[in-house]
């Protein structure tokens, strides 16, 4: 258990927060860059999303006549919930003071809070696209939630804890073990992450005006700084899932103390891991086609099945009688 009042701990939390805020747009840019290269395009620079955000912050925000206060508050709630969520995740080091404030279930809850307001904002203007996006988003997330929780369960049942730091510590302490349950949980979590962050094949972050869009439909009416916050929150969420996947299942390299060397090592490790994950995502997005909306339930069924099998194999194969 981390010391709540350790100053250096809070400094690391702050550093992590800044790294998340800056790294999230870069990760999105990296995926876009690799994807462009895979498709034989030159593609924009990696820092393009950061520049987009900067530009959007300077632009005037337009709000529809029909919009209410919810529409204006939503970007802040969505952004704040994403920011709080990422500050709970061990990026560079474990046993941070912030980790005790919430466990994995609270993390899921915070993401749900952001999604709730995002969907409300979609409904607020009263346009047909917004409602469509909200309706679809809520369906996708409702089906993704059980799979997500089953993956959390599998991890938590092995580590006997839902605290993220404890799970990471557990995996570090045990070294490399081939666990069938973790394999399935990892696959399931990756499928869920794709659905929750609106990537291909569930949603396409690069299109507008397509009848299949989900996330973009909800933020269609946003502009200026509101749009910037929404985009930033979405990028934070993408990076959050990325860090969860790499640090929960492959925690090696993460700092357990708070020396500068260990932190630097942790930063290096997580950067390499995230870059690799970005390549995987880019390859998947290049190879796969976006699927029909009503194929998504089957896709999420598969995710749930995987995580369920993970749980079963934990119980059947990994725990003795």
């Amino acid at each position: 258990m981390a010391d709540f009042l350790s100053l250096s701990g809070w400094l690391i939390v702050l550093l992590q927060g800044i790294l998340f805020l800056l790294g999230a747009p870069l990760l999105a840019g990296w995926i876009r860059f690799v994807k462009a290269r895979l498709q034989n395009r030159r593609g924009a620079r990696i820092i393009q999303p950061l520049q987009d955000l900067y530009k959007l912050f300077g632009k005037e925000a337009l709000v529809a006549h029909t919009a209410s206060l919810v529409f204006r508050a939503a970007p802040y709630v969505v952004f704040a919930s994403a920011l709080v969520a990422v500050s709970l995740v061990p990026l560079l080091a474990t046993n941070l003071p912030s980790a005790m404030a919430a466990d994995m279930i609270v993390l899921v809850g915070l993401l749900a809070l952001g999604r709730f307001f995002l969907a409300l904002a979609g409904m607020d203007v009263g346009s047909s696209f917004g409602g469509m996006g909200s309706s679809r988003e809520m369906m996708v997330s409702a089906l993704a939630e059980p799979a997500m929780l089953m993956a959390v369960f599998t991890l938590a049942m092995s580590a006997h804890s839902t605290n993220l730091s404890s799970v990471v510590d557990f995996n570090l302490a045990n070294g490399l073990i081939l666990r069938p349950s973790f394999l399935f949980a990892l696959l399931g979590l990756m499928l869920v992450a794709v659905a929750e962050t609106g990537r291909i094949p569930v949603d396409n972050p690069a299109t507008h005006l397509e009848l299949t869009m989900i996330h973009e439909a909800m933020i269609l009416e946003y502009s200026g700084r509101h749009l910037a916050l929404m985009e930033w929150a979405a990028q934070l969420k993408l990076m959050l899932y990325g860090v969860l996947i790499v640090n929960l299942f492959f925690p090696w390299g993460i700092a357990t103390g708070d020396t500068a060397g260990a932190l630097l090592m942790g930063l290096l490790a997580v950067t390499v891991k995230l870059l690799l994950l970005g390549v995987v995502v880019a390859v998947m997005e290049t190879v796969l086609a976006k699927m029909r909306l009503f194929r998504v339930p089957q896709y999420l069924n598969l995710a749930f099945l995987l995580t369920l099998l993970g749980l079963f194999s934990h119980i059947i194969l990994e725990t003795g009688t």
Binding site: K59, V77, I105, M123, S127, L149
Partner: protein, 668 residues
């Protein structure tokens, strides 16, 4: 002793309120200035009594009332469990008392008599308080019937409408069948304990099969009142048709009294809990939760939707209770205590947010005369306070941090996560599946309340009445605001609440959550900090800090004002209200995914004028599977029995003679 006297005084005040209501049909001002304040005062007294008891941390008071039969006086008893439920009843009563005067204003000139409404409300509240206080099966059943019958009259208050009469009849019938089951359950216990007093039942050991029979009867009886699947059919019919403040009392409090009865019966009186009962409760709870929310999603009548959500939330409460019973049966007392705390926490949470939502729905109904969400829209701008409080209710019921619904679901998840400590491998794999169902339920509830809030409070007005809606008066706002504030407080200060609730498992299971506050009141660590921790205060603080940070960054460069303009909507022609997503459209994807669970009757036809008409009926499959066969067989039996009705007087006399002879033969 003081607490018990206070509680009894509360009951007397509720009865007095019922008595004064009799005069209110002549003096309508009485309702507003005497009947309802008395009810509120009664609520306040019982809440204070309950709080006093919970703070005392383990006191038990008993007394004997000078009523009842000569050899069977009425006993009352106030322990932790009754104290908790008194607190819950009292708080909602207070909120309703703020709310009711404004809400009832338009009823004063309506056709229904205020005397009926006020009188039965008083009796209803008194009945609920007495159920919780009762210490023998006799008083319990009398109070139970008082509660059921008076609420029947409240459901049928607007009886001009045939649908209301039908709903009332269904309610009465199922309530009586349930009461019969409970009575039989008590009969089994009384037969073993040789007495109707709860003390006798508690000390008696019921063995083997009889224990299971008693449990099954109680589960069926209390489950029927609580609205568990598959005996929930009365709930979505009866709750919406009552006046809204009564709906709040019924959904928020009466269902909880059934939960109280179940806990009292199985944890306290019956004892010796077996894990297989827990599995049954867990199963029924999970199915109720999932089906409740799925049916709720298909509704577009606001109050009916909320009623189906009661089925869902009662299901969640029973998931917690089921987990507690499984662990208790397997000998893990600490985890059993955790499950019980989770269930009780959700009980009070549901009482708060469901009452809040029903009061909000009532405010909308009062001001726009609409119950159908498809005719609402844009209400947030016309009714900002109601809109704000309703939003709090929506966030709470959707189990989102940092509000109260999340805390109890988190506790339930934590209980389920301890499944690894069980010996039985099958249970180890079944409990996580139940937890997955709970997760699905929570996410679907969030979807449902995005629909509710988005369709009714956001967007543009869909009807003329919705456009003319006005904010409700101060009292109604106060009632809602009070509950909304409590929702937030219970979400942010979970440790304080758990500290209060903790006394209940200590008394019932002799184990408490010792480590819940091991790291200070800011952190909720039900099983120690290593296992799981949640600090609602820090999360709220973090959210506010992040908000402030975002606002701070944006205050620097850039343009600060926002410009109002027309909605873009991808450049289509100007928006009108009919272009919005409707409630039916919103739930279409989910309807399609879970299609096989509903009885869907959908058709698209050309009507006489050649216009396309879409009609959609989503029904309850259980009607066809369970209720229709029962109704058919009852009718069949009635027809057979009807043959006795020949219409000849001498035949009837013959039946009488025959019965007399048989009876004499039997007793000889």
């Amino acid at each position: 002793m003081e607490a018990l006297n206070l509680a009894l005084l509360g009951v007397v005040l509720a009865l007095l309120s019922a008595g004064f209501a009799l005069f209110s049909s002549h003096y309508s001002v009485l309702t507003r200035w005497l009947v309802i304040p008395l009810l509120g005062l009664s609520g306040l007294l019982v809440a204070v009594a309950g709080m006093q008891l919970l703070l005392s941390g383990g006191a038990v008071f008993t007394a004997e009332l000078p009523f009842g039969l000569p050899w069977l006086a009425w006993h009352v008893r106030l322990d932790m469990l009754s104290g908790f439920f008194l607190l819950l009843i009292g708080v909602v009563c207070v909120a309703v008392a703020f709310y009711a005067p404004g809400y009832l204003r338009e009823f004063e000139h309506g056709r229904g008599s205020m005397a009926v409404l006020g009188g039965f409300t008083g009796l209803f509240v008194a009945g609920m308080q007495l159920v919780v206080l009762a210490d023998d099966a006799f008083l319990f059943m009398v109070a139970w019937e008082l509660m059921s019958l008076s609420s029947y009259f409240l459901v049928t208050f607007q009886h001009e409408n045939a649908a209301n009469r039908r709903a009332g009849f269904l309610y009465l019938m199922m309530a009586e069948i349930g009461a019969l089951c409970i009575l039989l359950g008590y009969g089994v216990l009384a037969g073993n304990g040789h007495g109707f007093a709860f003390d006798a039942m508690r000390s008696a050991q019921v063995g083997g099969l009889w224990a299971t029979v008693a449990f099954a009867l109680a589960f069926l009886g209390f489950g029927m009142k609580a609205g568990l699947l598959p005996v929930h059919a009365w709930l979505p019919e009866a709750h919406p048709v009552a006046p809204s403040h009564i709906s709040a009392l019924m959904s928020g409090v009466m269902l909880k009294v059934a939960v109280y009865g179940f806990i009292r019966f199985s944890f306290d009186l019956l004892g010796g809990i077996q894990w297989s009962w827990g599995v049954a409760v867990l199963l029924v709870g999970s199915i109720s939760a999932l089906m409740g929310v799925l049916y709720a999603l298909m509704q577009h009548d606001l109050k009916r939707l909320l009623a189906y959500h009661s089925v869902e939330n009662i299901g969640i409460i029973f998931i917690g209770l089921g987990l507690s019973m499984v662990f208790e049966g397997a000998g893990h007392h600490l985890l059993a205590a955790l499950g019980l705390v989770a269930a009780l926490y959700h009980t009070i949470n549901h009482a708060l947010f469901k009452s809040l939502l029903f009061l909000g729905a009532g405010a909308v109904l009062h001001s726009s005369h609409q119950r159908d969400m498809e005719h609402m829209g844009g209400l947030l701008r016309l009714m900002p306070w109601t809109g704000l409080f309703f939003l709090v209710g929506c966030i709470s019921i959707a189990a989102l941090p940092p509000f109260n619904g999340f805390v109890s679901e988190w506790l339930t998840f934590q209980t389920a996560l301890q499944a690894w400590s069980l010996e039985n491998g099958v249970l180890r794999s079944l409990i996580p599946v139940a937890a997955a169902i709970l997760a699905l339920t929570g996410a679907l509830a969030a979807a449902c309340f995005v629909k509710v809030y988005g369709v009714s409070f956001l967007g543009q007005a869909r009807s003329k009445q919705a456009r003319k809606a006005r904010e409700v008066d101060m009292g109604m706002r106060l009632g809602q605001g009070f509950l909304a504030l409590l929702c937030l407080l219970l979400g942010v200060l979970p440790t304080t609440m758990i500290h209060l609730i903790d006394a209940i498992p200590r008394q019932l299971l002799h184990t408490g959550l010792d480590k819940a506050m091991a790291h200070g009141w800011l952190w909720l660590t039900p099983l120690g900090g290593q296992t799981a921790s949640y600090s609602a205060g820090l999360v709220l603080l973090g959210l506010l800090a992040a908000w402030w940070l975002a606002a701070l960054i944006l205050r620097r460069g850039g343009v600060r004002q926002v410009r109002r303009c027309d909605a873009w909507d991808c450049g289509f022609s100007p928006l009108n209200a009919r272009m919005q997503y409707t409630a039916t459209a919103f739930s279409q994807p989910i309807r399609r995914v879970f299609g096989m669970l509903f009885a869907i009757d959908e058709s698209v036809k050309h009507d006489e004028s050649g216009q396309l008409r879409h009609s959609l009926q989503v029904g309850d499959r259980l009607w066809g599977w369970l209720y229709a066969p029962v109704i058919r067989s009852v009718l069949q039996a009635g027809r057979v029995a009807g043959r006795l009705q020949t219409g000849h007087l001498r035949n009837y006399l013959g039946w009488t003679l025959g019965t007399l002879v048989v009876l004499l033969w039997l007793i000889s």
